[in-house]
Point group: C2
Chain length 216, copies 2
Amino acid sequence: MARVPRSTYHHGNLRQALLDAGRQELRGHGAAGLSLRRVARVTGVSQAAPYRHFDDRNALLAALAAEGFLELHHRFIADDRSEDPPRCRLERLGRTYVRFALDEPALFQLMFSAELDELQARDDTLRSAGEQLYGALQDAVRGLVPDPEQFRVGCASAWSIVHGMALLLLHGRLPADRSCREQLVDAVTAQFALGLERIAADACHGSVAGDGGRRR
Amino acid sequence: MARVPRSTYHHGNLRQALLDAGRQELRGHGAAGLSLRRVARVTGVSQAAPYRHFDDRNALLAALAAEGFLELHHRFIADDRSEDPPRCRLERLGRTYVRFALDEPALFQLMFSAELDELQARDDTLRSAGEQLYGALQDAVRGLVPDPEQFRVGCASAWSIVHGMALLLLHGRLPADRSCREQLVDAVTAQFALGLERIAADACHGSVAGDGGRRR
DNA sequence: AACTAAAGTTAACGCCGTTAACTTTAGTTT
DNA sequence: AAACTAAAGTTAACGGCGTTAACTTTAGTT
């Protein structure tokens, strides 16, 4: 447990230092195991110091989650290739999403944890960061599924499948060791995007899908 | 806080009573907020009594999760209609999965929480309950996608999409109020099952999907 | 140079998980 | 029936936690 001593009484940039230490705590102990006292200790500051910068433990978690949303959004932008066809762009976005979840499992789970649901309602920074992310997903789906009604369903499907896959993978629930993980992710996203593309194409030819009724 | 007094020194069926109280705690405070001491208090027993029946707090959570897996599996069986065509059966299973998650959000999240990942490796009851569930899903997918390689991808996709949708819905992340929730679930599962059916049908006609066409 | 508000400290409260040492009881053995 | 034993429950304690109140130090302004 690294205790960082410091020369000046005032830290200078404690808020960010706490966030950095919190990020490490997250990696080491998960969101549930994150202890505010330990974060303070590692940062070399008293147990009560964090309360000058965060209302409570949840506020620190919310700030960490907001960082996570922004970071994931940046990855979306960095990985995107606007010259690719819509299907490839959607696939790429899905892979980026899953890769992020596997890179930062605790942060990712925090971003979608029950504790944050209520905070998201109040914390504007957090909410807008989350909405920004959903916007990026919507853009990617819109290119593939222009029809408004199908678009809604398409967005929900797309987010659901990558979100579910990310969580199941990082919990070791899907039978996929590290070597074939990427293959599986590629196959699932590709298959999904292909299916979406076809359904969208069908819709253009007059038939209405999405009613779940029997159609051969 | 209901404190239940009792006449006899020995409780008689404390283990199950603790599980029942734990289930209530889960509903009221979530898995993270479940306090062993409070469970004991509500059950009308001393704070140390639970340790005669569970190694520690995690063991109680694991037992609750195992109950959850069994319950969900029973719902699968109860809702299934073996006379329905494969696609309908898969859709129905998906709806059952999501409905369970929305009925018992805290229990569902517990079943797939990080804390349980390690326990699942050791606790045989818990692991087999989880595997039983995956077996039911596999059966439903197999009817639709016989080809072995596509079957693997199909299982992962199917589980991912319902799992992701369940979590996103119960976190209020998908823009769907209570009224249109069921419609959305129906539409997503139907669209997915339809896509899966078609891809499987394509495979029978010689073309091999699953790699999603060109890959960078 | 004095003042003030921000930033950090110490000490305390109550809750928690967990353990050790003890007591009560139900069931078995003699 | 009496004695024994092991299971099941109790009390009391330890240390860690989140949080707050009251205090101190410091940087920046007047």
